[in-house]
Structures are given as C-alpha cells and as structure tokens.
Symmetry: C2
Subunit: 275 residues, 2 copies
C-alpha cells in the first residue's frame, strides 16, 4: 500500500505553457503527515464509495490499471491536494514508470482537469516546497524547507479551482509571484503565514474565509486561507477555529510519498474527509 501526503498550497501563481509539462504554478505549499493510502483494485473507490474521479481516470487510462482503492484522511475539493495525491498514487502503483515519470503523469492529469497546478510537485518531494518555476516535477526548480510544527485546520466548504481561476487570474498570477519571493527572503513559519495572508488579501480570495481567519488572528494565532478551498490553516488557532466548525490538527511532514505495510492509522480514515 502506498501513502501520498496531503498538500496545502499557501501562495500560488498559475502559469499555462504549451503543454502540461510546462504548466503549473510558482508558489509555496507544504505536505502533511495526513494524506491518502491507496492500493490497486478493480475500480475507483474513494473511502469505500465509487466516485467519478476524472484526474485518476486520466492516469488509469495511461497505466492500464482498472482502478485504485483510495482511503483518504482528508476531503476532496477543499484544498488538500487529494486529487493530486490520488493521481500520483495511481501512477506509482502501476509500476510502469520511474518515480519521476509517474509524478509527471500525475501532474499532467491535474493540469488537464484543472484540479491542481502545484500539489503534485509538493507531494513528489515533500516538505515546505517553494516552486520557483511553473513546471512538471521533472522540470521543477524548488527550494525545500522543513518546519517541525503541528498546525490547525478547518474545512468550511469546497471551492472549485476551475471556477476561481476563471476570474482575476492575472491578479493571482502577479501577487503569487510577489509573495513567493517575499517568503524566500525569510523562510520562516511566521513569514509563511504573513505572505500567504497578504496574497489571499490582495487577490480578494480571503473573502471566502475572512471571518474565520480574522477570528484566529484576533485570538493571538496565525492563520491564512488554503489555496484553493474554503479552508483555513492556522498556528495556535484550534480554539478560535472551533467556533466555526470542527478543526483538526496535522503536522507539516517532509517525508513525502512512502510505501506502508497497511494504513497505520486506519481510525483516521475519513475522519476529516466528511463534513
């Protein structure tokens, strides 16, 4: 069984090249100690349910695999890169490609379906990943950092990357580059929250979650919006987040993709995946 970590995008600047390999996003994101567990199966199962999963289908078609059984600890469409994680798992499980070829295929599947532009890159390498060019994993230039910290997360609702990218893309593109550079000037946890908040604020994206973010900040914590979901990530924000729903804790992890004997924490499967 394979584990692929969830990816939280904090800042991003989308860029579409002539093909999927040269499309992606400059930006900053990090991988978690939560994610998905997957194994080969007869059809596509997501937390025991048969679902329509175009991004995974795209990969399966290229691998010849019939399906993949995905056990996710986090929900789809809420900014945790679960579509990218599932696509990467499917590509790797086929054993048809090198690790990086599999990563490029998963990235291609994300770009083709507009489900993500940087998650697979983050997941391929793990940690706090600063993507310095918009490209597939094999062509990616990045700097990787690690902050040994547990963060708080709250999922408020889904948000379609596709829909958001239809509007104010040029603003997102410009601000994404600016705040990625700002983060690299001082790659600390505090500055990650600062730059992510500034990015969300100046692009107007913060509106989806501004009351929640403000509540955490006014309670003395750090918080910003997860790109792209109606979701918030925070430091010392659990109590404030609890006023708005059921938050959960997860650690930043740089371990990335790994093979596991079984789902080590099966109790958690789906624990945060349903709202």
């Amino acid at each position: 069984m394979i584990f692929v970590p969830a990816s939280v995008s904090c800042i991003f600047s989308p860029s579409y090249g002539k093909d999927a390999k040269s499309s992606g996003s400059i930006g900053v994101g990090f991988t978690l100690d939560l994610g998905i567990f997957a194994e080969i199966s007869e059809n596509i199962l997501f937390n025991q349910r048969t679902i329509d999963f175009p991004t995974v289908n795209y990969v399966l078609k290229k691998t010849g695999l019939k399906g993949v059984n995905i056990k996710s600890q986090l929900p789809l469409g809420c900014g945790f890169g679960i579509s990218g994680a599932s696509a990467l798992a499917a590509a790797l499980l086929s054993e048809k490609f090198s690790y990086i070829e599999a990563a490029d295929l998963a990235h291609e599947a994300e770009v083709a379906n507009l489900t993500g532009l940087g998650d697979v890159g983050n997941q391929t390498f793990g940690g706090v990943v600063v993507r310095k060019n918009a490209a597939c994993p094999s062509a990616l230039s990045f700097e990787k950092f690690y902050f040994d910290v547990e963060l708080d997360f709250l999922v408020i609702g889904e948000l379609s990357t596709k829909e958001v990218l239809k509007e104010n893309r040029s603003e997102i593109k410009n601000e994404g580059r600016i705040w990625t550079k700002e983060f690299l000037k001082k790659p600390t946890l505090e500055n990650l929250f600062h730059c992510s908040y500034q990015f969300a604020n100046r692009t107007g994206l913060i509106e989806y979650v501004d009351d929640v973010v403000e509540a955490v900040i006014s309670s003395g914590g750090l918080a910003s919006m997860i790109m792209l979901g109606k979701s918030v990530f925070a430091y010392k924000g659990f109590e404030a987040l609890s006023e708005f729903g059921r938050p959960f804790k997860a650690k930043i992890s740089c371990c990335g993709v790994r093979w596991v004997e079984g789902c080590s924490n099966s109790k958690q499967i789906g624990r945060f995946a349903e709202r």
Copy 2:
C-alpha cells in the same frame, strides 16, 4: 545554505550501462539526519581544508561554479555517501538545473569517478530507499519506507569503492539482487539488518568488519556492514561498538535535501568526520 543527508548503503548490486544515466545500483540504503551543509565559495573546501575532490570538480565544471564550501558531519570514503552529497549540493547550488537534472548530474559525477552508484538516488528522495533499477535519479524506480529509529555507527577505516568493485563484482551483483528482493518481501528494520548481513556475509565483504559485527550481535543487538566502508551500522549496539572505537548515533531521516538558514548543529561539524 543547503543540507544534503548522508546515505548509508546496506545492500547493492552494481550495474554499468551504456552511459551514466543507465548505470547505478539496485539495492537498499537509507538517509540520515546527519550529512553535509554547503554553500557557494571561491574554491572547494571540505571542513575548512582545501582538498582534491574529483566528484565535486566534475559537477563544478558543468555548472560554472568556482567552488563549494562543504561542512560535513561525517567522513569521506567511509560509506556515508559524502561524495554524492557534496556533488548533489554543488549541482543544486548552481541553480542551473531543475532538481532532478541536478540529481542526474551528481549521479553522473559519482559513476564517472566510481565513488558511488546508489547514494545520490537515496539522497535525492530520502528515507529507506529500495532502488529497483540501476539508473540515474530521473529514471529510478524505487520504493521508499521510513523507520523512525536511532541507530549506532562506528567508522573503522576507509575503503575504496573502486578497489572493491574490481574484485568479486559478479558475486556482489548476484547477491545484491537476491537480498534486495528478500528485503522487499518484509520491509522491516529487523529484516533490513538480516538481509544486509546475509549480503555482506555471502559476498565476503563482511571480513572487513566481522569482529565488530559479531560483537554487536553476540551482545543482543543488530549489526551489519556499511557499503562501502570499513564501517558498521547497528541497532542497540552502542556499547559493543565502543569496544572498538568511538561510535556515534544518528536517526534514519526521510526529510532528504533541504535548504537551511545556517548549519543548525554546527557543533557537530567534523565531530564524526575525523577519526
């Protein structure tokens, strides 16, 4: 400043293809929470000394960089993949390549200088890496595991990869494949020691360190030989190892390459690098 982890090779099966990209080793190794810290400089410095470092020179020639200042926590030529780590650091510091292109260049430098065949692959991805084909990082198929454990290490002396590979290579090639497969059947820490010991024993390589390994095993610990160095890695072996020299402890880490503000544990620099 960049950190590249040390790589400990436990089992390996060397294979030389038509070029460096198709040369490498099938095998099992793991990365540590110790390694090297490096930054760009005017010449090649290794723990404050100017040294002749062909593997790093090979990379520098392709990058245009004049030199790199390497602060290593572990010695060269004793099986910790420090040559590969230094080459990878030099390639990444140039910012001339994507991460994987830089990794391929470092691997090429290792193959060209016969200093290592699998270390750069392990270091590129981090963790307990089972290399399933002999190839450069971009073409590598592998499975990655993680054991959250602290191990004991003893460096007895240097061993030239080049010299060892001159002799009994076919035996090493065959046994390396056999015990890599055996490890994959049961990817646990205990089995890693078992398979590594069987590999070292059947190839005769164990002779370099057999008394030390036996001492650990007869004291109730686990131990085997580091490939390739007159060095031993062990679990619960610190006391037994102390009879033969000055052992040190290090954790298996899957964090791999990362960028750091400074050398976080500068006290340790060179601490284990001199014998």
